[in-house]
Amino acid sequence: MNELVVGITVFVLASFVGFEVISKVPPTLHTPLMSGANAISGITIIGAITAAGLGESTLGQVLGLVAVTAATINVVGGFLVTDRMLGMFRQRRERGRDPS
């Protein structure tokens, strides 16, 4: 199989996995799901590093630098803000805190 066909196969299968895994997320967690998924879309950071690392021309370097910076903001900010949100979700009584 050529590379394109393999790529398309991977894409289609991963999409189905995504539909299966995510369709069960309860509405309460929709915002963290979205910002967490958003952080995962920052996987383009590895493309940005590859592009910036190989960049030959000055223009390629500059574009690579912007790409790495933007992708890093997406990744770091995305995971951190998701963690912050999820840290706020709690149950009625946290165990050990309520003597009654």
């Binding site: 394109l4 383009t44 950071i45 910036a52």
Partner: protein, 454 residues
């Protein structure tokens, strides 16, 4: 070997998302996905023949600093615009990955399948970038939240699409690098023109769709550089965004095309924004305190007005006081309440409301007829009985919370102004409705004082 390691990272994303299915495991899932991302970054740094270490180190340092600063500083009420901005950064990064392939590669030498994916990556990434930042501007209040429409908009959009397709064909056949830049420019313009006509209350759909696009942009960038981790990660996000998009449009009983192109809420398609002069029952803080304090069960229905007024903590304090009086308190959350999916849940979680008290539409609606008092805080269209009773209404058929079926309804609202859809709400004039005019936070604080004196 490198491919296997990347595959493990992709597996971490899938398991991480899977753990997002429950509030107990969600945080761990996010952490796992983050570890997968860190691992993927390290693998790339080690495995690629990198020459420009300075550029990469600079980008990583700057991006980390800005990302940490933004993530720690943002208020929970501003989460929709934060997610929009992060989406935009992801989109532009993917577009630039493809752009570097044009700048430093010889596009005339590349096979057609690669040039097609380069074009897709640039176009989707650029649309995501400007679309997300227009959405950011609208949510932040920099750009008006009303739909902006101009004469001949559809014609202009049609022409731009025709030009874009022509340029794409020319670029592919002539293998001319200039074509990619023109396409990138057109795509940036399309992103702006596509989001500008969409009103604020439709933002849950727009943000979900842009989220999906940022995933697709990453996946196409994966095709350009031949990396499966990007393709898998991008596809997962594309699917996640699409699921939320569909759920949001279903919650409004509208098609995606209607949300994107109809200019809903501009007053043209919608019904007349006529203010009714029917009498309403005005309530004071004391009236509201009595209605809530002597109820057995209270359902709180939050909307975007709660976020605007930053009233989540005041809401929680009032609820705690009611619970101490023996009142059972729950929250009914409509899927499109607020400006992004789950917006209200995050706000209330910030105010320490336990998630068991947060009910979705299907759970809450059947309980409403047995509820003594409903407290509507800054919500309007999602509790409008016209959606159920009036076939002429533009929102007819939209699933609503039938709060008018409860014994008493208290609506906290700044004025009688119609909601986003520009239509009057019969709920306000109903026999069992008390209108408490004022800012949600002030109103709740006054009610709390009155309740303590009861």
């Amino acid at each position: 070997m490198t491919e296997i390691l990347y595959l493990l990272c992709a597996a971490a994303f899938i398991i991480g998302l899977k753990q997002m299915n429950g509030p107990r495991t969600a945080r761990q899932g996010n952490l796992l996905a983050g570890v997968g991302m860190l691992a993927a970054t390290v693998i790339t740094l080690v495995a690629e023949d990198i020459v420009n270490w300075g550029t990469i180190a600079g980008g990583l340092a700057l991006g980390t600093a800005l990302g940490v600063w933004a993530a720690l500083r943002v208020r929970m009420t501003a989460m929709p615009q934060m997610v929009a901005a992060f989406n935009g950064f992801g989109g532009i990064a993917s577009a630039l990955v493809a752009a570097v392939a044009v700048v430093d590669g010889d596009v005339a030498e590349l096979p057609l399948e690669t040039t097609v994916t380069i074009i897709l990556s640039i176009v989707i990434g650029a649309v995501t970038f400007t679309g997300s930042f227009v959405a950011f501007g609208k949510l932040q209040g920099i750009v008006t939240g009303r739909p902006l429409l101009f004469r001949g908009q559809q014609v202009v959009n049609g022409l731009i699409t025709v030009v874009a397709i022509s340029v794409a064909i020319w670029t592919l056949t002539e293998a001319n690098p200039v074509g990619y830049w023109i396409l990138g420019g057109i795509a940036l313009l399309i992103g702006v023109l596509a989001v500008v006509p969409i009103g604020g209350a439709d933002m849950p759909v727009v943000i979900s769709l842009l989220n999906s696009f940022s995933g697709l942009a990453a996946a196409t960038a994966g095709f350009v550089i031949g990396n499966d981790a990007l393709i898998i990660g991008g596809a997962l996000v594309g699917a996640a965004g699409l699921i939320l998009t569909i759920q949001m449009t279903e919650a409004m009983n509208r098609s995606l095309a209607n949300v994107l192109f109809a200019g809903f809420g501009s007053g043209e398609g919608g019904g007349p924004a006529v203010m009714s002069d029917r009498p309403v029952k005005r309530a004071t803080a004391d009236d509201v305190a009595i209605a809530l304090g002597y109820a057995d069960s209270v359902m709180i229905v939050p909307g975007y007005g709660l976020a605007v007024a930053q009233a989540q903590h005041a809401t929680r304090e009032l609820a705690t006081e009611l619970e101490e009086r023996g009142v059972s308190v729950h929250y009914a959350i409509h899927p499109v309440a607020g400006r992004m999916p789950g917006h209200m849940n995050v706000l209330l979680a910030e105010a320490d409301v336990p998630y068991e008290q947060l009910l979705d539409l299907e759970q809450a609606d059947p309980q409403l007829p047995q509820t003594d008092a409903v407290l509507v805080l800054g919500a309007n269209d999602v509790v409008n009985p016209s959606a159920r009773d009036d076939p002429e209404s533009p929102i007819y058929g939209m699933p609503i919370l039938n709060v008018d079926r409860a014994h008493t309804v208290v609506v906290v609202k700044r004025s009688l102004a119609p909601g986003f859809a520009g239509i009057d709400n019969p709920l306000f004039y109903a026999e069992n409705t008390l209108m408490f005019f004022g800012d949600a936070k002030d109103a709740l604080e006054q009610t709390l004082i009155a309740l303590r004196e009861l």
